[in-house]
Amino acid sequence: MSYVPGQPVTAVVQRVEIHKLRQGENLILGFSIGGGIDQDPAQNPFSEDKTDKGIYVTRVSEGGPAEVAGLQIGDKIMQVNGWDMTMVTHDQARKRLTKRSEEVVRLLVTRQGLQKAVQQSMLA
């Protein structure tokens, strides 16, 4: 999954569409993110490549919108509503996800299992 910044990336991705849940004033997605270009990538427990500064799903709340939509812990978020998430700061990612104006977010995520599964199916 390592790549050169600025160069095209090829990754097997899954679309996840999360409908935000309104909680009082807030719209929640029900997961938490870690990572970002301003964070120490070495501390990311989910990345294969420890220099990967991408945004990762670190927790998913039980029964929350994200879980319902099929998001999993350790997923790497590639895009949010079409916005690139592979080269953003943590805060930028957070903001992109928490736009009050957007009740639905469409994520492109990739996860380790996904890549392998596709490869295997192609081999088979």
């Binding site: 807030n26 690139d84 104006s101």
Partner: protein, 978 residues
């Protein structure tokens, strides 16, 4: 005929009178209507910040005059672009230095609130809501008026419904507070600015307001007029214009954001101020009719105008695109998102309202005025042509550096500002600047008489001095930058320049070899110019005046940070700082004031406490006349100075047993003295202590204890505990007093409570302090009975590390403290047994991963086993000799396992050594102190080490909340719920 005439004259008169009366009625009605509306308007403005509203609203009032003045000022600065850049500067600089938190320019230092875009925005929006309500009322009034001025039924007018639909559209986009009126949109943006916590925003205001003023001043001709005001002079001041276009070019995409936001920011306020102004200045209802049209025009022309004078094609396209893109925000702007995602986001972060705020006018076409749009149309092409003009390009680095020597001052300052901008977070450019000899020129500009020039030069140097590449720092020093900075500090009273200077010095001070240089050139100046005045301390206080409080300014923070770094540069540096006139006094005063105001968590306090701790290190050996105060035994052993060597000599020429006796007797003696002390015996002074003497006066104990009680800042806590540790470690009379004073001031419980701290280093510092304090016999008894449980709790249990997962050093420190406490105190050993400490100790000594922990634990166990009176109880608990002696295999056996002796072979391991030196002679205690200073030492050096080491996280943490704790070496990974 006559009659008829008369009658007709009368009737005419009557009819005239009647008409007059009707007219009067009408006038009254009109008047009332007008009053009504203006009242509402006023109400509309109240929720937003009054002064600001008035700035934009009262067309010819004073505020505008100031705004105008500010505009002029900015014009004098080299070009608008740079003045904008300057406003942005603080952010840049701050990020570059260690002085991150209080950065006035970081617009993104918002609270992270889960679903809101950012805290500030949200707060603002709340306010806006109120305002919008009122404004909406007005809209309703306005809407029912048909184009011909006749009232139309509510909602039935096409206009009304149109507005409605527009509103809904916005709502869908989540801009729910978007008022249907441009003016309120406007005000809203003002509001957001106003909510901004920081100065730079305010300056934007003034500036923006002035931009709006242009439009407002001549409501009819504003289009062109404001343009003239808005951008012509800026052109004039941009040298060669060559650097300006950089903004629009794509050579430095990631850099552009530094300019971008300021470029983008002003766009909104002018948009707002225009209509706002118009509305309030003509509040007569009948004029509302034509006005909406004018408003729209206003918005547009101002908006475009703005783009024009920003000359930021990129931004203008963004802003143009955004409004258009509002309905489908989810569609990413190709190329933008991928090329510079951060920039796209920057716009978002800094001008959260830009989508809505700026979009609003465009989305309200009902107000368009053809005439003015025509005007617009004529104008835009010219802007475009400027933009596309191939003559503009970026100057390359050598050109910029050459411009630093340009004969025209604005060119110099512009070039310096541009350099600062280029250097931001770009180590390569910094290096290139160095190689191109740019640093020397910048340093030369520090002496330039024009404020604008030396300010920019200083800003550039501040960015260049930041980073791990010490060669830049060396280069600044190499061309006498440090004395030049100090000279400028003495000369200037401009706060911003002072912040830049001290920030640069703080950066420079993180590099070891420069510390002494800074001390040599700047110590007294920094103290006199910054530390003393900002601390509130007065060397000869006026009896009438109240003692002043410290001001936690950025300048003070930077300067104290710099001194904190240089204070760790060894004995000579400490000596110089201690003997620097007024420094210790001022620092103490500042800390007292911090405690008085219960403001002990900030960075400045942290810096001050760290300096105090560093200066307290070895104070008993290093201050002039320290010999006089040595305790009898100590002075005997150390009759002739040369303390460092003494240690070794003693190690070789005293047997440990003798050493132990010495220590023992001294301990007893100390105990005796302490008892005396408790009743009376503080040394009487003929005059009050001052300067470095203040460092070790028993009175400081209360200060440190207050900090330990009050502060939530781990670094500060650690430093305060470290100071007590340093002060109580000494072998002179003052240390004896300090140890007793801590007890007298009820400091032991404070320290013991801090053993529960979540911070590893706090636990360690406190634990070592307790160990030093227990050199006092009564302290030892008290600590043994009250602290044992907490100490044991900090030890890892067999199954797992402690919940806190303390570092090895800390565990060893705790073990050593326990060892110290149980030594020569069977009572304390008993309480160790009672607190289930044996189980943990055995666990550590048998199975710890760490050799040092294992040894330290087994030494404690040996000591416990040496109390024969405890063996019965121990055996009853199921322990036997092997549990206490196993470690002896790893620790060399001394006679009867005397740990003191065993320790000697471990002397290569400094922390283990610590366990034993307490037993030996004073010198060994000295050594322990020394060894204890690994913690002391580490702590001493810490500020210094932190800087280089801690910068990386810093730098990467750009523009985010994390900056706040950026100084932690490894900030825990941020994890945000969304």
């Amino acid at each position: 005929m006559d009659d008829y005439d008369i009658r007709s004259a009368a009737s005419i008169l009557a009819s005239v009178k009647e008409q007059e009366a009707r007219f009067e009625r009408l006038t009254r009605a009109l008047e009332e209507e007008r009053r009504n509306v203006s009242l509402q308007l006023e109400r509309a403005h109240q929720p937003c910040e009054q002064p600001r509203a008035s700035t934009c609203a009262i067309g010819n009032g004073q505020p505008l005059a100031t705004a105008w003045q500010q505009l002029v000022l900015q014009e004098q600065s080299p070009g608008n672009q740079t003045s904008l850049a300057m406003m942005q500067e603080p952010q840049e600089m701050v990020e570059e230095t260690v002085t991150v938190e209080e950065d006035p320019g970081t617009p993104t230092s918002h609270v992270s609130i889960v679903t809101s875009e950012d805290g500030t925005t949200r707060r603002t929006e709340t306010k806006v809501t109120k305002m919008v309500k009122t404004v909406t009322t007005r809209t309703v009034r306005q809407v029912p008026l048909g184009p011909d001025g006749l009232p139309v039924l509510d909602g039935s007018s096409p206009l009304g419904s149109y507005t409605d639909s527009i509103d809904r559209r916005y709502l869908k986009n989540g801009e729910r507070y978007l008022p249907p009126q441009a003016s309120s949109t406007l005000t809203r943006s003002y509001n957001s600015y106003g909510e901004g916590p920081d100065g730079p925003y305010r300056s934007f205001h003034a500036h923006d307001a002035s931009g709006g003023y242009g439009g407002a001043e001549l409501p009819d001709g504003y289009g062109s007029l404001s343009r003239g005001i808005g951008y012509r002079p800026r052109y004039a001041y941009v040298p060669g214009n060559s650097y300006r276009p950089e903004d629009g070019s794509y050579t430095l995409p990631s850099r552009r954001e530094a300019y971008g936001p300021p470029g983008a920011q002003p766009q909104v306020p002018p948009v707002g101020s225009g209509p706002d102004l118009t509305v309030s200045s003509r509040s007569q209802p009948e004029r509302f009719q034509p006005e909406p049209y004018g408003l729209e025009d206003d918005n547009r022309s101002l908006g475009v105008d703005d783009e024009g004078y920003e000359l930021d094609p990129d931004y203008s396209t963004v802003t143009r695109r955004l409004p258009a893109g509002v309905p489908e925000r989810s569609r990413p702007h190709k190329g933008r998102a991928y090329d510079e995602p951060s920039e796209g986001e920057m716009i978002d972060e800094r001008i959260p309202y830009i989508h809505g705020g700026y979009a609003a006018p465009l989305a309200q076409p009902e107000r368009g005025s053809m005439a003015s749009i025509d005007r617009l149309g004529k104008r835009s092409p010219s802007i475009d042509s400027i933009r596309k003009d191939p003559r503009w390009r970026d100057p390359d680095l050598p050109e910029v550096i050459a411009m630093l020597s340009h004969p025209i001052d604005p060119v110099k300052s512009n070039a310096a500002a541009y350099l600062q901008h280029l250097c931001y977070e770009n180590d390569k450019i910094k290096k290139d600047v160095r190689h191109l000899k740019g640093i020397a020129i910048l340093v030369g500009l520090l002496d330039h008489p024009k404020a604008e020039v030396h300010r920019r030069a200083c800003g550039a140097l501040r960015n260049i001095s930041y980073g791990r590449d010490h060669e830049n720092k060396v280069a600044i020093k190499g061309c006498d930058g440090i004395p030049a900075l100090i000279r400028l500090l003495r000369k200037t009273s401009d706060m911003e320049v002072r912040e830049l200077i001290t920030g640069t010095l703080w950066n420079l001070s993180s590099y070891e070899p420069l510390k002494m240089v800074i001390i040599n050139h700047g110590l007294q100046t920094l103290t006199n110019e910054v530390i003393v005045p900002h601390s509130g301390w007065e060397s000869e206080p006026n009896e009438d005046s109240k003692p002043r409080d410290a001001e936690w300014t950025t300048v003070f923070k930077n300067t104290s940070g710099c001194l904190r770094n240089v204070s760790s540069d060894g004995a000579e540096a400490r000596r110089r700082l201690r003997e620097c006139d007024g420094l210790v006094d001022a620092l103490l005063h500042a800390l007292q004031s911090a405690i008085g105001k219960k403001d002990t968590d900030n960075k400045s306090v942290e810096n001050c406490v760290c300096i105090m701790r560093n200066l307290s290190y070895h104070v008993h050996k290093e201050v002039p006349g320290a010999d006089k105060y040595q305790e009898p035994e100590a002075s005997q052993a150390a009759s002739t100075g040369a303390l460092p060597r003494r240690k070794k000599d003693d190690a070789s020429c005293f047997g440990s047993k003798k050493a132990k006796e010495d220590w023992f007797s001294q301990g007893k003696k100390n105990g005796g003295m302490d008892r005396n002390f408790d009743t009376l015996d503080l040394p009487k002074r003929s005059e009050s202590a001052k300067g470095f003497e203040l460092l070790y006066q028993p009175e400081v104990v209360r200060l440190y204890l207050s900090i330990l009680t009050e502060s939530q800042n781990f670094n500060t806590l650690e430093a305060a505990a470290g100071a007590l540790q340093n002060l109580s470690a000494g072998t002179w009379m003052w240390s004896t007093y300090i140890r007793a004073m801590v007890r007298k001031e009820r400091g032991l419980p404070v320290l013991v409570e801090l053993l529960q701290s979540d911070s590893d280093k706090v636990v360690r510092a406190v634990s070592i302090a307790l160990r030093n304090l227990s050199m006092d016999r009564r302290n030892k008894d008290l600590i043994g009975s009250y602290a044992m449980a907490e100490l044991v709790r900090n030890l890892p249990s067999r199954q797992q590390r402690t919940a806190k997962n303390l570092e090895e050093d800390t565990v060893v420190a705790v073990l050593n403290t326990i060892h110290e406490i149980v030594t020569d105190s069977a009572e304390n050993a008993r309480s160790l047994v009672q607190t289930q400490g044996i189980q943990k100790l055995v666990g550590i000594s048998k199975s710890s991963q760490s050799m040092r922990e294992m040894k330290a634990a087994s030494h404690v166990l040996q000591m416990v086993w040496s109390y024969k009176e405890l063996r019965g109880a121990l055996q009853k608990d199921g322990w036997n000799k092997s549990h206490f002696q196993t470690a002896a295999s790893s620790a060399p056996k001394g006679p009867k396992g005397t740990p003191g002796k065993a320790g000697y072979d471990d002397s290569t391991l400094p922390l283990v050594e610590k366990t034993h030196d307490g037993y030996s002679t004073i010198d060994h205690r000295e050594r322990k102190y020394r060894a204890g200073d690994p913690s002391g030492d580490a702590s001493e050096k810490e500020p210094l080490k932190t800087d280089p080491a801690r910068k990386p996280p810093h730098r990467s943490n750009r523009a985010s909340v994390n900056l706040v704790d950026g100084r932690d070496p490894k900030p825990p990974p941020v994890d945000s719920w969304v």
